[in-house]
């Protein structure tokens, strides 16, 4: 019993939060102004609790297992959830069904935690669904906006389709190996055509969730239509969690197929970076822009994953950490502006620096980090990803990735130019920022500036593996 409590600590805390919100909802109803700070504090406590009592162990006959690295990954997701609750507080306060929104968010996170820790295919599939369906509901949360419903609809249909293929793959895999346990399966893989077909189908499910081109088509529509809180959840927490699971599944379960998935990753990462960048250049809507840029970022993550060892794993975890701060800061600025005046177009951002220097600097810092300009943290994140990817000595591959970094520089700086240099007759007026949001911004900004300079962090992640 005691072991159950410590090993499943993250999941249990999340469940506790869900029930708590349920009771709040069933009760007389609490005002958003009181409920939101409470949730923020709870999320902070939850985040802190994640750093204690982390052990290796498994439960329920190998269906669930955890390691300190997994606990760290879950803590990263908790961190991102906490930041979202702070940065999007403007929108969250206004929403009519605040408890439900968080209940959905926490359910999805519970799904992700279980997904990270899942030890067999059944667990894997169930938690994947749990991690997806609530997000579709979150995407629908701007109830009066049609695009929001459209986003939810597209998401749920696409993921149903993806699930179908995944289930097909799972059943083939079971047929080929005779087991659903990951630990047993790893020894039974022999690269037979049936197994490769099964693997490809399984792979597409990850590719869909991570928005790897050409499985990315739902992304931009869903990002654009959803409220920003849901979009940032999708682009940061979902992406991060799936990346963690993807990498551990590839390394641990499908290690025998490394030759196959290495080539697959090389091909898909190049396509993903290139297409993501090409589309990002054209976008005018800030959310669509960030959607495509996040697709390109996933391409870089794949470069790191292709390494196949400790360095690949560590660099991905490190990158996700940095990505959380950078991307959430960018979404945060977009969220503040969109809440205030509903403007989501890059052209509307022209001359923002004159009226809102703080927001402008935050946006610039976030975009610099996303573009990987030294000395922001993003540079170090990309640097380690590319060094990991370069370990195979396929230098042309790293060159292609580096060239894509340069292309991405162009469109990130385009936004910075609009904010700082372009003139505008009617810039967005001065926006007052609440202390909570400001604190979250400062936290992100500090992290972006300091993480890269704090070299021990990468060593720490490496030591967890």
């Amino acid at each position: 019993m005691n072991e159950f409590l410590t090993l499943m600590k993250s999941e249990l805390l999340m469940t506790l939060l869900i029930f708590l919100l349920l009771f709040v909802k069933l009760g007389k109803g609490v005002k958003n102004e009181t409920l939101l700070p409470l949730i923020q504090v709870l999320l902070l406590l939850n985040l802190i609790a994640g750093f204690f009592f982390n052990k290796t162990g498994n439960l329920f006959g190998d269906m669930y297992f955890t390691t300190p690295l997994m606990a760290f990954q879950k803590s990263l997701l908790n961190l991102a959830a906490y930041l979202i609750s702070l940065l999007c507080s403007g929108w969250l306060k206004k929403t009519k069904h605040l408890p439900e929104f968080f209940m959905l968010m926490f359910s999805a996170m519970l799904g992700m935690f279980l997904l990270i820790s899942s030890g067999n295919l059944l667990m894997f599939y169930l938690s994947l669904e749990l991690a997806t369906i609530p997000v579709a509901a979150m995407a629908n949360f701007d109830l009066e906006r049609k695009t929001s419903s459209e986003a939810a609809m597209k998401m749920i249909l696409s993921s149903a389709f993806s699930s179908g293929i995944l289930l097909f793959g799972i059943s083939l895999l079971y047929g080929a190996t005779g087991t659903i346990h990951f630990s047993q399966m790893a020894g039974l893989l022999d690269n037979s055509p049936l197994q490769i077909l099964a693997f490809v189908f399984l792979f597409t499910a990850f590719a869909f969730k991570l928005s790897i081109v050409p499985f990315h088509l739902w992304t931009a529509d869903v990002y654009e239509g959803s409220p920003i809180a849901a979009t940032s959840f999708l682009s940061v927490i979902s992406k991060g969690a799936i990346a963690f699971v993807f990498i551990s599944t590839l390394y641990r379960v499908f290690g025998a197929m490394q030759d196959t998935w290495y080539i697959m990753l090389v091909i898909l990462s190049i396509i993903t970076m290139v297409i993501g960048n090409l589309f990002a250049i054209r976008q005018q809507n800030i959310k669509r822009f960030l959607a495509f840029s996040s697709i390109a970022q996933v391409g870089f993550i794949l470069v790191g994953i292709s390494e196949g060892g400790a360095a690949g794993l560590a660099s991905v975890v490190y990158f996700v950490l940095i990505y959380i701060f950078s991307n959430l800061a960018a979404f945060g600025v977009a969220s503040v502006i969109s809440d205030h005046c509903g403007k989501e177009n890059i052209n509307d951002y022209k001359g923002l620096y004159k009226t809102n220097p703080f927001l402008s600097w935050m946006m610039a810092l976030a975009l610099f980090s996303l573009a990987g300009i030294p000395p922001t943290a993003g540079f170090f994140g990309k640097f380690f990803l590319l060094t990991a990817g370069g370990a195979k000595a396929e230098y042309w591959y790293i060159t292609v990735a580096a060239l894509n970094m340069i292309v991405s520089l162009y469109y990130y700086l385009r936004v910075v130019r609009a904010i700082f240099m372009d003139k505008n007759e009617q810039p967005i007026e001065k926006i007052g920022i609440s202390p909570t949001v400001k604190m979250a911004f400062i936290l992100c900004g500090t992290a972006i500036v300091c993480i890269g300079l704090f070299g021990k962090l990468y060593d720490y992640i490496l030591s967890l593996i």
Binding site: I196, L197, V200, T204, L278, R282, G455, K456, D459
Partner: protein
Amino acid sequence: MMNLNTTLLLLIPFLPLAGFVILGLWGRKIFKANAGWVGTLLMLASFLIAVYTAYEYFTHSSGGHYDKIVPINYTWLKFSSTLSINMGIMLDPISVMMIVVVTLVSLMVHIYSLGYMKGEERFPTYYAFLGLFTFSMLGLVLSSNLFQIYIFWELVGVSSFLLIGYYYDRPSAVAAAKKAFIVTRFADLGFLIGILILSYCAGTLDFTTMINTLTSPESSELKTSLTYSFLGVSALTWGAALVFIGGAGKSAMFPLHIWLPDAMEGPTPVSALIHAATMVVAGVFLVARLFPVFSFTTPGVLQVVGWVGAFSAGFAAIIACTQTDIKRVLAYSTMSQIGYMMFALGVSGMGGEEGAGYTASMFHLFTHAMFKALLFLGAGAVIHYVHSNDMKDMGGLRKYMPLTHLTFLVACLAIAGIPPFAGFFSKEAILHAAYQHNTIIYWIALLTSGLTAFYMFRLYFNIFWNKPHQAHGEKHGEGGFAMMLPLVLLGLGAIGAGFIPFGKFVSADGNPLHMETDIAFSVLPVSLGVAGILLAAWFYLKQNSRPDAVASGLNGFYKAAYHKFYIDEIYQFVTKKIIFNCIGRPAAWFDRNVVDGLINLAGSGTEAVSAGIKKMQSGKVQQYGMYFLVAALALAALFIYILK
């Protein structure tokens, strides 16, 4: 054992950095006119800690020998088990000396600027930049490895760019800042390649390890790296030479000196800080830091260092005799004095008496910092009063600026090498070292020292004598207390610094070196100095026609020197005519027609592809599903049938 607290050590560079951050963020809103005090107090604290550190370090020698100690070494980026980039602090006699010099001069400049820059619109910004510069310079001298020194080297470049271009509404200041930045950048490219070569040969970036591997004949790294060569010269020699080029760029050695005179466009206290005492000696410091490598492994490069230094010393002194902008005279004099430090290193050997040049060079660096900062600050006071940089507008100022006059005289005597002022001792040490190792360099140095006395007193007489007393608007010419205090303190330094038994503390191998002043040897240089002063007095004490007569007598040579031997024009010719026509134009053609063509092609291609794949993003979910399925099947087919 030494009682050095690492936190305290870190405070030395980080207090000025804190000044930069605080004033950069809140200077204009909160502190406004008080910003100067914030910067100055932080600097004062940093200075006191630096002095304390120096006291602790120099009072705890192990039997007279000073070790290199690395109290802080933090792994920043780890690439493999052997290669990592560290951030650390290294204490050895020269870095300890440098932190005292840098914090002292910076403190003086901070105080002085309270008066000099008062009422400037961007006053807090100015102090923020000063803080950034001081931080970078301290980081540079405390670096424990080559990579770290390179980072701070560039930071120093950036912050000096900001300070030189402080008056950004003046086109000449902007041009000067750009010129300084580009020329030193050009040299830094050499430095970077040099760093890469040296670290590749030694297999490390760390100074201590690098020096050990590259100077012990048994080390396998040294043996293997001696086998690499390029154009008949060993790779190590290339590395050391390129590192020296980096140093020569920052230290304004011929022919990379052209930025220094123009950099005088910055505020005068900035010139005192950057172009007299700190940044320009970074090159000397770098050579001294890697001195064992130069001395043991690449003696050929050390020869080059010596000759470049000696030539620059003489060359700059000749130009200084003809300039009329007082700050430019000081700029050329700085270049000349740094030439002294360089060739002193060039003629030095490693241990015992052989290492006299090393000690002399560092000694001169130390004393020069005092009197040259004093000269610049004095010149600043004069400019503050007269509102002009040109000595034609000055003259007869001694009655209106008695304190400035007195301290300026002290500094001039010091730089002219008249005993018992500080410059005398260090210059004697340098001449002595040169005399024993290289007679030609010795004679160049000797003549230069005569010239130095001449042009410095030309400056002195032109400012303070020459014409009858002249008031410029106000009755009283001195700046406020804030401007006078640094003059007095530095004046005391210029008088007393020479009496420090420097050889006891700083030497090439860490063991004490006995330096004595040989009176018989000093007769010649000192009498040359006095002759220079008398000559200057004959020309300039009272207004007369003698200077013009001599100038027209030396017609061609005078003109050439006045135009700084046309070095700028040569650069212009090379860059504008040769590089522009032979490389720039073809490159531009290639760029316009081939590269742009390709880019346009890529652009229109991208557009076309983008428009093509736009259809993919149709917004119809059923199509998304179709693409999904096709892609999945294609992948499966690819791996099952084609890439089996």
